[in-house]
Symmetry: C2
Subunit: 309 residues, 2 copies
């Protein structure tokens, strides 16, 4: 056995760094990311789904293709994680479950994360992926923007940005456990502290600082608060949350404000469910029942006609 020096590919050098980071995270951000990345374990493998890594106008993403689908439609999916943590890989399986239930493929984004990339990099990336889908021949009205937690904010924020620019809107928006109040002021933050097993005020503040801190943007800025900004003219929107999560209060207000703004709104509170309950797709009956409801609403809102691929 002899060891000699070898010229490694750049990819092999990147792999060496990944190997070294697991047991001794270089900083708190990476430690939190490593802890969050295993959340993919909550979901089961959906059957009959294939995956393909794509570059959506500079945004890395996973194309999620069910065996039976209407490929004229697509779910543009933004993951959770407070702008800092998780990834397309964490959401691959749950997106496969939603895509299979709805009968349309999904594009699951690895948008840029904070604190390396502050607001509005995440909205920019969802918009870039939306434009990429248009360039691939998808009609705007056949694109569903969907996401949970901060991804639930992003799925709405991109529609608001398109509306403000006078551009064609997505055909529907699905916001699951969306983060609507960057002032972190809703009473449910305290009232549900005992039932929420993941989120805390401290964690929300950690994410907010990573995402907004240093940008000069006020916490009550309309651009980052769905519960302050104008919601009129948005596409049909489904809002869902778990009643045990600390975002339940602001999500309920968001749904009411959508209705008041004249948006066709479907409201789906899930009794006893946690923040981002979709993580448990395929394993938790309560999550699967909610996903079935979301899929049924999509098929009643859009003319989806799934067929075998």
């Amino acid at each position: 056995m002899t060891t000699t020096t070898v010229t490694l590919s750049p990819q092999a050098q990147a792999f060496e760094k990944l190997l070294g980071a697991g047991l001794t995270p270089p900083n708190e951000i990476e430690a939190v990311r490593i802890g969050a990345e295993r959340l993919h374990l909550a979901a089961s493998e959906p059957e009959g789904v294939t995956y393909r890594e794509v570059d959506a106008k500079g945004v890395p993403a996973i194309w999620v293709q069910p065996k039976v689908a209407d490929n004229a439609f697509v779910l543009l999916h933004a993951h959770a994680g407070g702008s800092v943590t998780t990834s397309a890989a964490v959401d691959r399986k749950l997106a496969g479950h939603i895509a299979t239930a709805a009968g349309i493929p999904a594009l699951v984004l690895d948008y840029r994360r904070a604190p390396e990339h502050k607001y509005p990099a995440q909205v920019d990336d969802v918009e870039a992926a939306f434009e990429w889908l248009l360039s691939q021949g998808y009609a705007a009205k056949n694109i569903v923007t969907i996401g949970h937690s901060i991804g639930g904010f992003l799925s709405a924020a991109v529609a608001i940005r398109l509306r403000d620019a006078g551009k064609e809107l997505p055909g529907a928006v699905v916001s699951i456990s969306p983060w609507c109040d960057l002032q972190i002021a809703n009473p449910a933050i305290e009232a549900n502290a005992g039932t929420d097993k993941l989120l805390t005020r401290a964690l929300l503040e950690f994410f907010r600082d990573a995402w907004i801190g240093g940008t000069g943007i006020a916490f009550d800025d309309l651009r980052i608060n769905l519960n302050l900004t104008d919601l009129s003219g948005l596409p049909p929107t489904l809002v869902s949350w778990g009643t045990y999560e600390i975002l339940a209060g602001e999500d309920e207000i968001y749904a009411e404000r959508l209705k008041a703004a004249g948006v066709a709104t479907e409201v789906l509170p899930v009794a006893g469910a946690q923040h981002s309950y979709v993580w448990a797709a395929g394993r938790v009956p309560e999550s699967d029942a909610a996903i079935a409801h979301i899929a049924k609403w999509l098929r009643s809102t859009l003319p989806i006609k799934p067929k075998a691929q």
Copy 2:
């Protein structure tokens, strides 16, 4: 917004526990597991592969099905992790790459882990899955036992156990970066300490204690040392390792002992590669070249005839 008490499904309660464990691991074992679980990020998504969760005679597993494959054959795959860490989920993508290259499906096992389940639970589980494949109609000679790190040990250990019991053997064994020396005595443990970015003597001792500690089994016991036990009569075997890893020395000895025992042996040292370089399947050219070599050897050793599914 009101919170009421809800009767949760057992699965929803399990999801609550998973959510809570990420940021504050309950103990050192779980902290190491959480750190290791993100190793799945090293591999890319293989295209055209579907997945299905199965119960292989009590062993949870993922069935990995390439689009073009000879379904008369199967790879029985055991993941790495020193008996304590990682999972079938971590190896799903890399198993998909190997399965696609070889043109046969793979069964990726979630065997029981230590310290909750000490040796020989892991060998028992691989054997149970082997028997399950026989019960599903697979001929023993059409099963390839494959694995890396402790999974590389397991892929050989199950063949040794079947040989000793006078049962039919797998058609081939693939051991990548196998752990062959539980005495942790090979000079490469020190000589390669500077180039191995993951393994250390301390980590190997941590794993050994979790796996063997308290069983009364001596570290030089033949059952846990491929470099002490009789290797005669084993099926054609491919042994591979990265020259930068601290197991390189014992893996080279293992390959020599296989040859000396009269086993048809293919030896594949990968220059400059890390322990379990297959984790980086689809992203690192050196890993992909080695996987192509393994697949070519399998197709030359077994009469595999892949066809579209």
